[in-house]
């Protein structure tokens, strides 16, 4: 039980830190917006093309944004060396990861939900018909990004050139998420939408595998 209560307390701390300044959320929203607009300039898609490519570009923008957004996750703890106190305070270091990855998933989801209407307008894609499925895909995809990203940001925070290193470690690792989420989203936003349950299940499997790996190896990531 202590895992859950510790996680809840730490999650509260993560959310408080962010909502005091809202720096991370604002910058990420603006970043995704800029990337989406630039994509549109770069390829100037027709209506059909934007249906075909839009969702992939959206996921690419989310991936890029996440690789920047996950940067301060452990770096923030370094400035005042709060990580060692955190580790002393909790019985299972996994709760630190759990709190951080839940917070990151929430932040990512929030930015995605803010971006969706703008995406629909700019790319002329009606998102309402299968919105609940789309939200499910966004949730599972963001969860996967956050699990892998939280683990890797604990690694990159301890290296030199960390700002560049995190995207280099994270983006190739997230290839399956990008491929599957983009494909599933394309078929959801098609003129005749199809729900690809196999893809949604695959995202769940990805999340499960990396969550298990994080649970098994998380404590070593925080070793001094």
């Amino acid at each position: 039980m202590s895992l859950l209560s510790n996680t809840a307390t730490l999650l509260g701390k993560e959310l408080r830190t962010e909502f005091r300044s809202r720096e991370l959320l604002t910058t990420t929203v603006v970043f995704i917006l800029v990337v989406l607009i630039l994509f549109s300039f770069a390829i100037s898609p027709t209506a059909e093309e934007s249906r075909e490519f839009g969702p992939g570009l959206l996921w690419l923008a989310i991936l890029f944004a996440a690789s920047l957004m996950l940067q301060p996750c452990f770096l923030r703890e370094q400035t005042n060396d709060t990580l060692s106190s955190l580790r002393l305070a909790v019985s299972d270091p996994f709760s630190i990861f759990l709190a951080k990855l839940i917070a990151n998933t929430l932040f990512l989801l929030l930015t995605e939900i803010l971006m969706l209407p703008l995406f629909a307008v700019f790319y002329n894609i009606p998102i309402l018909p299968k919105l609940h499925y789309l939200l499910l895909v966004l949730f599972l995809g963001s969860l996967g990004i956050s699990i892998a990203g939280t683990a890797l940001s604990a690694i990159s925070a301890q290296a030199r050139m960390r700002e560049l290193l995190l995207p280099l470690l994270l983006l190739p690792l997230l290839t399956p998420i990008l491929v599957v989420s983009a494909t599933v989203s394309v078929s959801l936003l098609d003129r005749e939408p199809i729900v690809q349950w196999k893809g949604i299940a695959f995202l769940g499997v990805f999340d499960f595998i990396f969550l298990t790996a994080l649970w098994l190896f998380g404590e070593y990531l925080l070793e001094e």
Binding site: A151, I155, Q158, A159, R160, L165, P172, L173, T175, V180
Partner: protein, 225 residues
């Protein structure tokens, strides 16, 4: 020392024999012609490279578990040797593909997952070069190595199930069905030889890593005096 030289000599002699077998013993493939002979080298290197990455994964796990430096040396050794193998695979692949498929590259499951594998282990070596402290470098890179290795099957199946809507240009029979008996003998001989050669490279690189470590210690001793 003598054993290492012997292994090297054997590996190189075997390589020459394998090249002879691929060029002169194996029959010429009917549709692809001479270019198909690159298959013996290409696929054998791929198998040996993937084997090396598997050893790297095991070494990473052992390091996390036992914390002995030898596993860290083995990890970096295998990552580098495996990366060299996969680089060869990624170069010989297009040389074969262009005349046969008419294109240099296609995003099919095997090609893409090999390419992502290559990228992941480049990141692994990059990560190592960016952490100074030896123990921390060993531990963190071992952890990343484990995550990277877990990712590879996921990449493979995600591409296979969702990206290959058009059947990829299927001419490559691979090692699977319908391989001529002589061809298959030559192929498995090549696979064996590549493994011996890779083992030789791993031993040499491992010794180098150990020497580097010894030099480090000696240097620190000299500086402290």
């Amino acid at each position: 020392m003598a054993k290492r030289i012997l292994l090297g000599v054997v590996a190189i002699l075997l390589l020459i024999a394998a090249a002879y077998a691929s060029f002169f013993v194996a029959p010429t493939e009917r549709t692809m012609g001479v270019i198909q002979r690159i298959f013996y080298f290409h696929a054998a290197t791929a198998w040996a490279g993937e084997m090396t990455f598997f050893v790297c994964f095991v070494a990473n796990l052992l390091y996390i578990w036992k914390r002995q430096q030898k596993y860290d040396w083995l990890g970096v050794t295998c990552a580098e040797v495996g990366l060299a193998c996969i680089t060869v695979v990624l170069i010989t692949g297009p040389i074969w593909a262009h005349p046969v498929w008419g294109i240099w590259w296609t995003w099919d499951a095997r090609l893409t997952s090999t390419f992502v594998l290559w990228l992941l282990y480049i990141s692994y070596l990059l990560l190592r070069s960016l952490i100074e402290e030896p123990d921390r470098r060993a531990l963190l890179s071992a952890l990343f190595g484990v995550f990277a290795f877990l990712d590879v099957p996921l990449v493979f199946f995600s591409i296979r199930w969702w990206r290959t809507q058009h059947p990829a240009p299927v001419v490559m029979g691979g090692s699977g069905s319908g391989l001529d008996p002589t061809m298959s003998k030559v192929f498995f001989f090549n696979v064996f030889v590549m493994h011996v050669f890779v083992a030789f490279l791993i031993v040499e690189r491992y010794v180098l890593e150990k020497l580097r470590h010894d030099v480090d210690i000696l240097q620190r001793e000299v500086e402290s005096q």
